[in-house]
Assembly symmetry: none
Homo-oligomer: 204 residues x 4
């Protein structure tokens, strides 16, 4: 069902994320760097992508999508909301660069860079797959949670999604601060965030 990717495409996608994880600036990546890392010729990349922006945008999209799918699958196994959120936060902790990638992806959706514009185009083209974005995962989990409740207004649901998503964002930010490199500070923060999320869900 899901679209097939050629080995060269995958190589490009991996290369971009590796570079990103190594601290490269996505806005200043060169085609030479990407194809060098991917181990393919420059010309080859242009047989699969129309330009540099497409390479980067699709790479972020692909990686974001697959990390989100993985997250969603993992969460389904957890019994309650508390466990689910805990699962996500721990996963983020263990895969900081991946998590970063998703939030970078989100930030990009709202800035003016050339790559962001391309990402928005891609998302528009692939609406269904895009349902697997970070925001949508939050939405799905909430819908599962509220299935047996009496209906909640749409406005409130949207607020909840935003509120929870913003807390995940918080955690992603915190993960990069030196201060939170100590396990105890980090798990304190994690607990506060989980509590916060559960409290909000109950309140609504």
């Amino acid at each position: 069902m899901s679209k097939e990717y050629s080995s060269k495409e995958i190589a490009i996608y991996k290369a971009v994320v590796e570079l990103f994880e190594e601290g490269a600036d996505l806005n200043n990546l060169t085609v030479a760097e990407i194809t060098g890392k991917a181990g393919i010729g420059k010309g080859t990349a242009y047989a699969y992508f129309s330009d540099k922006e497409e390479m980067i945008a699709k790479a972020l999209f692909y990686n974001s999508k697959s990390f989100c799918e993985q997250l969603y699958k993992g969460m389904l196994k957890e019994k309650d909301l508390y466990a689910k959120v805990n699962y996500v936060l721990l996963k983020m902790e263990r895969q900081i660069p991946k998590a970063d990638c998703i939030f970078r992806f989100t930030n990009m959706m709202s800035d003016n860079s050339t790559i962001s514009k391309r990402i928005r185009d891609i998302v528009r083209e692939e609406v269904l797959s895009a349902k697997m974005s970070a925001v949508n995962i939050v939405k799905k989990v909430l819908e599962d949670e509220f299935m047996d409740r009496e209906t909640t207004s749409e406005d409130k649901m949207e607020y909840l999604v935003l509120s929870i998503y913003s807390k995940l964002l918080c955690y992603a930010m915190v993960l990069k601060e030196d201060k939170y490199k100590q396990e105890e500070k980090l798990s304190a923060m994690r607990a506060l965030i989980i509590d916060g999320i559960c409290r909000e869900v109950r309140a609504i």
Copy 2:
């Protein structure tokens, strides 16, 4: 106390924000565009800044700082937390590009772009003035709020600051979505956010 800015510096700062507000991509701004908009010669800019990155980074810093100062002053006049948060959200709505500027600035604090790296350098150099950042405003307001309470743990304070800040961040993102161009949906969301924030503050 606060550093003096020459008229040329101010011209550059204004030019960068104007371009940003016009939708320019900060990562692809050219010196020619900036100095052209600022109405000064290219060579002149280099008498005040060491390179292009410094122009853009300082411009964002300067604008962010001054918008925050303005926000903080305005908030002090409001009587309670509810009114204060309301004031901030309304201000953001009325000055979307300025608000955007702050949050772009925040995003940059955590990405790998060349400009972001420069911004972090600047912030490190100007620690005191940086106290006027968006995150610090939230912190100050909370401190004022908690002044008469028995002491709250540092961890909890940090959580609260981040949680509120990330809600504002999400609001900034929401403001750019077409769906929220209708006043009624927007004010519903605004009300929920204010309630959410007040609830969190009370809960802690």
Copy 3:
């Protein structure tokens, strides 16, 4: 006597001329375009030609030669010089792209482009067949015409060839001007050219 051409060679020759007739710039033709049009693989073309220039140069040479042969055969059937020239001009009119091709070929013989250089090499290699060039057809027809005259000096013959050839060139140029799309203007020009040629032949 005449060299055999393989079907792949012919396919390339036809493809080049078709592209040329469609308005392509011979100096910017790509191997991919040529082999695509010819319906063969890129690698295959390299089994028959040493490089791109050879493909194009030989194609022009081949087409020029065959059109000239056709012209020459047709002319032999006409009874006098007037009828012969008339035949050629009408043929040019009906096959503008082909005629164009020949004159382009002539122009190329005297410019410095890479393809021209190759064409000149080919002509040098295939001297005999080259006798079938546009200039040589003019020469042959003149020789037939003068067969029963007392001998004419070589200088004069060469001048006559040049003069007649230049008039054909004229007509080729005229055929491409919008002004001469109207039949009446065109036939007036044709008559003047035929008269001019006959007058020159008589004068010498």
Copy 4:
């Protein structure tokens, strides 16, 4: 009255013709070669021309125009048609590359190369100056010649212009043939061409 050219523009124009005179292929000239020959930086050229094609096209146009102006002025001093044509042919002989430039320019007016297309655009933009083209010089000379005659039909005039022009074109081609490197053969041809032209003018 006539447009001013900056020193850099002139440098480019001269460089292109020098390269052309050295046997370079106008369709494969690189910007690096041109600016190298012109003694200016690559970037500088782009401050004066929008792209490579414009550099070459304008260079040919400029050189063609100035050679034509020179030719026209020189011819005016000659007493009759015979002397005028003689003057032109001798001038062409002495400045083969310049003459070549004009005729290359003419060829380009009718081929499909990228540069040719640009030249046609330029000619369209600068119609007035273009009056100084090779064809127009022939037309002017003929008009002077026919001033005291009873009117000649437009068709006939057009034929004469083209006929004479194409003879000059052929002469330019002949000049490049090895056979005509000997002065005696060349002057014999020259004489025949002059006679031919005068005869045509009288006949019409």
